[in-house]
Symmetry: C2
Subunit: 481 residues, 2 copies
């Protein structure tokens, strides 16, 4: 691995050599693992009120760690679980002139069910051998306690080497990411000035593989709607009425079918407004990733992909919008036969969004699309289950460039710029409320069993996470504000 | 009311005047009501084993009544509830030359739930005043005990006036019509020779209105299929996979949508094979019925019908085949949102059949239709929930002509020839196994609350049922065999 120092000479004078930071990380890594294990031992299951006291204790544990690194920190009161907020002004006379960094993560975890499928108790972290070396197994190992500790331990190295971070650093570590983040936006509105920064670093995503870092530059957005088509005022006998009245299930099926054309494009008028073409450079970079489509699809029993014509599987999941029915129900759903025409039928329909697609406009266009297709005698009711726009991080941003340099220092190769088909609503909220871009640099692997039994974090990934955050912070600090 | 005698002079010589039969019916009607009440007091709920002893007692009660009218009768053992079978060779030397009549009905009843909605106990028959005169209220009043007693009491009048029926008469009154008729076909196969006849008279349908008799000449058939579309081998996260894999709910919705074209015709190849055009005479007769479409649709909250273009509501329900989805389910069907792509989705799809549509061919064609539309990566599983062909009674049959004359004698006007959108599987079984046509002459009214609380039979309808069966039997006997 290369250990070259930050490449922005104008500010480098007052920064410690990155090599000394990385050496400090490596020297203290044994203790970093112990601290992560302490963090993981606290069952901060945010969705279950039975764990509320533990969830609070977890926040307080983190506050204490950060205070030990010279941060002013508190477990701030919210309408839900506490928000850990910590601030350090940076050390030295130049700190105030340097970019302000906000780190976002979460200290809460998913429930551990089904507990019987764990090979060791989910809240008794176990360091075990695996094909890639040692790993730590526990609920929250990578999602997101391990990734949060990647940041905390990098700050610890800076504390040891330089007395603190080289620039103003704020942390916002929430306790409700796994249970709907209901406090996040209200808190950001309220604490906006305390959270002021130039860029937000989010560590809740993955690497390309164990030796290849990645920066996630695309997150799809989401619109999730529920539609109920109502027809006759009551359930009818299909013999007496069949063929003479609108059947809400048939009507709903027809409308859902019309959502896609023969090219598998979504037919809602205006749906593609704001959808950008994939830049040629990005496309060729993705083509060079060596994505194993056969493995991706074979794992779920498919031989070939199925989606919008003219796009690869990677493009379809990272850069193209979708429409999927996530649930449908109506009429008789028990065993055997009942000759009924149902009074109503319901579908849960979601859209993954990309680029500048507007969730509110798409929700409205979907409603109009459905209403325009209702035969006389039918009406539709809609319920929104929320929406958030897609995130696209500019691949030319100087913060992304700095992160790339930091990662290259640690891994000896450039990070890949990747997308993800899923959504991280917090990133949208941070942009909208706090007015800053996020930089998504994470250290998970596909097989980390996130949300599943035997969640783990490779210790190699954990160590590189700490090293990377230490190196990236040096690069950020080297940028002009 | 007219009381003219049968119009077939060649056999009339040995038949009593119909007027004397009708007079006998009227004279004994008070006792006919008492006997119906006795019949109704026996709670023969076939679907509930708690009533098995009562169901048997009910069969035996009926056997005793028929023996009292000179019939050889028994409650024959079956794999389920007893089958009441009774036979009379007919009186007089000419009887054996006359047409043999088989009567079909059922002595079992639906459960009385919800009992609290009844105005009098369901198995304590109450004769009460209504807008059309007196009515008898009890479970089974019209479905089908009242209709069965219409036949029995007509045979009683023949017994009183002529010593017995004028021709060979067999009754097959089952005890499982409300619980799936599982013994009916096996019994018919086994007892085929005992059930031999020239025509079957079924009394389990309705009149047009209280003063207008009807013969039901069309019953739709049914094919009921369940289809499950399987896609990925497990439920998937719609963010990670959405847009790149086939979604079984979307696939199923698309296939269901393609079952109808813009004219609302069913698109399955060969579906309309065997569908006859409505004879002009039938169409003009139906047009003259004065069917109140506004009331039919308004009752279920609709302003206009919805179905195959170019057909009236009556035609759509009586003479046109259909395709309705009776149930659908897949994916997440709970409250709120879950971003899942389901591994499979299921629909229950039924077809009402008319004319000579073949249930087996339509089931196979439906399967082929679905399979032809599955994208790669999806497969379909099918489960049949049964099928039976449509019934169309020739409107030129001499038995129908005889029944028309009998009904005209009683009501002073010709019966209407009507259809029903529903199915009576027994009628198909009788045709298929016993090789004879059925004649559906019933005396129920739309507001009789069949299968509902406060089921009733208008005494006027009951009396006309007895008179009609007495008169029709005279007409049948007047036909050459």
């Amino acid at each position: 691995m290369s250990t070259s120092s930050p490449s922005q000479p104008h500010a480098a004078s007052s920064l410690p050599p990155v090599a000394s930071l990385l050496a400090e990380v490596d020297r203290g890594f044994g203790r970093s693992v112990e601290r992560l294990a302490d963090f993981l031992r606290i069952p901060s299951v945010s969705t279950d009120p039975a764990y509320d006291a533990e969830t609070r204790r977890c926040a307080e544990w983190l506050v204490a760690e950060l205070r030990g690194l010279g941060f002013t920190a508190e477990a701030a009161k919210t309408i839900g679980h506490p928000m850990v907020v910590a601030h350090h002004p940076g050390v030295g006379p130049d700190a105030a002139k340097r970019p302000r960094i906000l780190y976002y993560g979460h200290y809460d975890v998913q429930p551990a069910d089904p507990v019987e499928l764990w090979t060791s108790p989910p809240f008794e972290p176990a360091v075990v051998d695996g094909p890639r070396g040692k790993r730590i197994v526990a609920r929250g190992a990578v999602d997101d306690k391990g990734q949060v500790m990647g940041i905390v331990e990098a700050l610890r190295a800076w504390h040891a080497v330089a007395g603190g971070p080289p620039c103003p650093v704020t942390l916002m570590i929430e306790g409700e990411e796994e249970s709907g983040s209901k406090s996040l936006e209200p808190f950001m509105h309220e604490a906006k000035s305390r959270l002021a920064a130039d860029v937000c670093v989010v560590s809740d995503t993955g690497m390309w593989d164990v030796t290849t870092p990645a920066i996630t530059t695309r997150l799809r957005g989401l619109v999730y709607m529920e539609v109920t088509v109502h027809g006759p005022t009551r359930d009818l006998h299909s013999g007496m009425y069949g063929g003479a009245v609108p059947n809400p299930i048939n009507v709903l099926a027809k409308i859902l079918a019309e959502l896609h054309d023969a090219e598998r494009r979504v037919t809602i008028p205006g749906f593609y407004d704001g959808v950008g073409e994939l830049p040629a450079a990005t496309k060729s970079q993705w083509d060079s990733l060596g994505f194993d489509e056969g493995e991706f699809l074979g794992d779920i029993g498919l031989k070939s992909g199925f989606g919008e014509r003219g796009h690869s599987t990677l493009e379809r999941t990272w850069s193209r919008p979708t429409c999927d029915v996530n649930g449908i129900f109506g009429g008789y759903t028990g065993k055997g036969a009942k000759t009924v025409i149902a009074a109503h039928a319901t579908a849960k329909v979601s859209f993954r969004l990309v680029s500048r697609q507007d969730p509110a406009r798409i929700a409205a266009a979907f409603e109009a699309f459905v209403r325009a297709r209702l035969p006389e005698g039918c009406r539709a009711e809609f319920e929104s289950h929320g929406g958030n726009p897609a995130i696209e991080v500019s691949e030319n941003s100087r913060y992304l460039g700095a992160a790339e340099r930091g990662l290259r220092t640690v891994f000896g190769k450039a990070p890949l710029l990747i997308g993800t088909g899923g959504s991280i609503p917090a990133v949208g909220s941070i942009g909208r409320i706090l007015g800053m871009d996020s930089l998504l640099v994470g250290f998970g692997l596909d097989d980390d069993c996130v949300h599943s039994p035997n969640e783990k974090f490779e210790l190699a990934c954990y160590q590189n996470a700490i090293r990377s955050h230490a190196a990236m912070l040096a690069e950020f600090a080297g940028l002009p504000r």
